[in-house]
Symmetry: C2
Subunit: 387 residues, 2 copies
């Protein structure tokens, strides 16, 4: 186990009706907020009205910035920063999924930065940020209590990340009821994203990390079990709740304590969703099995343990490889059962820009830690996915 620091300070407010506490949570910080959200879905569900009423009643002024979209865009981030400055905003309330929260974090980081906000995405240290809080409506990205944000620059379609403890939300309100109305495909994409966060952390070269291995396995088993329940019963509160809480735990860095995650599949997928604007979760259900097929020989025992414990694959004592390949098949079958693609074709990618994507991804090479991926490795993974 490696040395580590763990300090996650986001206050989680979880359960039925918790969005009604929004004013009470914001009050200690400010009475002037930017209300940042995506499209119209929060208006359709009544959440928007409920928030506006709560804020108004509590005397909290708010300026609105709608329009955050999946794979959130730098353009809107710049607009948000300008708006916050003009309107003397000192707190951002993000309402939505990971895209909205990531967009809010980028605005928060850019607010105090003298240069253009995109410069922060090339590794400049974030020294200060506006505080933010969120109401989560899509369990997936884990952004609600993480210090991370991923934004897409429309110029060249680069998708890049920033990381800073200043970006961790002060509070996150999670009401599983708000997720009942998510379409099945979007729910499935969220599940895939959560699983990917867990698997990225699982496949580490750090030895002797028994406890976190087991915590990751436990979380994955719960996500898989409850995803299938939700597929048949979208209004099952408890199953929605398990997935929502798992989504937070999967990405609050507890499960990466003492170990170094891989994150290669995320980077390989980022080029895919930047190039084709596909849902991140759907890209991951394609890339992750392909990545596994490409790398399992790096430490096959880890894969045997994983598929035995998480998917109940019997260990074939004559062939670790058979055990692992059976496991990957079960993972793919699970994704398919959830209505997710596991090949580029199923994802709707019909042209061949694999070389171009590999070139772009390789700009940040080597990717990953479990196996260091260079240009040819990345291309090979796209190739495996393209069957």
């Amino acid at each position: 186990m490696n040395n580590f620091q763990f300090h996650n300070t986001t206050k989680i407010i979880f359960g039925k009706g918790t969005e009604l506490q929004i004013a009470e949570e914001i009050k200690p910080f400010t009475n002037r907020v930017l209300l940042h959200y995506g499209g119209g879905s929060i208006k359709k569900t009544g959440l928007y009205d409920s928030i506006c009423t709560s804020l108004t009643k509590a005397g909290i002024d708010f300026i609105e910035l709608p329009g955050a979209m999946p794979n959130p865009r730098l353009g809107l981030v710049r607009e948000g920063i300008a708006l916050c400055k003009k309107e003397h905003i000192d707190f951002i309330l993000a309402v939505g999924g990971g895209s909205v929260i990531d967009s809010a974090k980028a605005i928060a980081a850019g607010f105090y930065y003298e240069g253009d906000v995109w410069e922060l995405f090339s590794g400049i240290e974030i020294k200060k940020a506006l505080p933010l809080g969120c109401i989560l409506t899509i369990p997936a990205a884990g952004s609600e209590s993480s210090p991370h944000s991923v934004v897409t620059n429309e110029k060249g379609w680069y998708k890049r990340a920033i990381h800073s403890s200043f970006l961790a939300p002060k509070f996150a309100i999670l009401n599983p009821e708000l997720t009942f109305s998510l379409p099945a495909f979007q729910t499935a994409c969220g599940v895939s994203d959560i699983m990917a966060h867990l698997m990225e952390r699982y496949f580490t070269k750090v030895q002797k990390v028994d406890l976190t291995d087991r915590l990751i396995e436990a979380t994955l088993k719960s996500v898989i079990r409850n995803a299938l329940i939700v597929k048949d019963n979208p209004d099952d509160y408890d199953a929605r709740a398990e997935i929502m809480w798992a989504g937070t735990i999967a990405h609050n860095d507890l499960l990466e304590t003492g170990r170094v995650g891989d994150w290669g599949s995320h980077d390989v997928e980022h080029e895919l969703s930047a190039m084709y604007d596909v849902a991140h979760g759907a890209g991951l259900s394609v890339i992750f099995p392909a990545w596994m097929k490409y790398v399992y020989n790096e430490h096959i025992a880890k894969f045997v343990q994983f598929f035995n414990r998480v998917f109940g694959v019997e260990i074939d004592i004559d062939s670790d490889e058979r055990t692992v390949l059976e496991g990957i098949k079960r993972l793919e079958n699970f994704f398919r059962e959830m209505g997710l693609p596991v090949t580029l074709k199923e994802l709707g990618v019909t042209d061949d820009r694999k070389g171009e994507m590999a070139d772009k991804a390789a700009e940040a090479a080597p990717l990953g830690n479990f196996k260091k991926l260079f240009r040819d490795d990345i291309y090979a993974i796209y190739q495996i996915a393209d069957i």
Copy 2:
């Protein structure tokens, strides 16, 4: 799943040599601390010298209060409060195990309270406390990141608890190397205490808590596995590290999110360790199996799941009871293998004060949540343990 709030703000600094960061962690708070510890063990191991050197070099003044002992005493807490007032202390550094940290928390709470500190233990709300931090040397109580403290009043030997977010340490330094020198029995008592924290949370009447069930099972499996490794190799860093980190996770309230723990066994045990001054962990290895035997029929499926998943007991489809009794036997066997008692006699209790203990415990009845325990139930559990 129940609604919940989760907000654990303790910064964890984990790994080899981390005690050397002590001055750097204290500096942002103060340059005048109370250094609270137990007996001479930290002097023998060199930890005491290392801390004094770090503090002195950083210009941090410190006043010492040694003498905290297992089942920490109210007398010393009162002394600590007086000392902090006299010396204008504004931060407490606790160095040791749960007893020292609990003692420090009680001092911190009593510092700002106008009446006698023991009054807080009857449920008066704690509105303010001195900030504290700790260097943990015994993984067991989980006090290093919890808002709880348990203190024994020598007058009548009452053992009672306080709870307040003000009592959560600002930071906790955990270096598994500091636990190499723990005697085998003390290590085993710590393991028992950690397991009890997990099992108290596991046995809940709240339905559909799949994720936290699985996280608790995962933590227990890791503790059991690594306890046996440490038994044979006390200097195994990774196994010590797993147990130490599990001890924190077991009690930082993450694993009680959305559910209500039982805590009956802890209360039943408290009378035992208050009456006989036995190690808390040894009392728990006696009481927990007895409690299980008394209550399993309250929700036998939960026990079947527990022993199947945690101890690998095959489910006997003809008899849930046989499955559970086989499981309890395995738990007892594990405790015995660790050198822990599982009966009152093995604990060294030879006289019969079961009635007196039951009377005292029943003052706070009903105890527990999985099954509400009244005086006769408590007596029956002592009786089961007394074979």
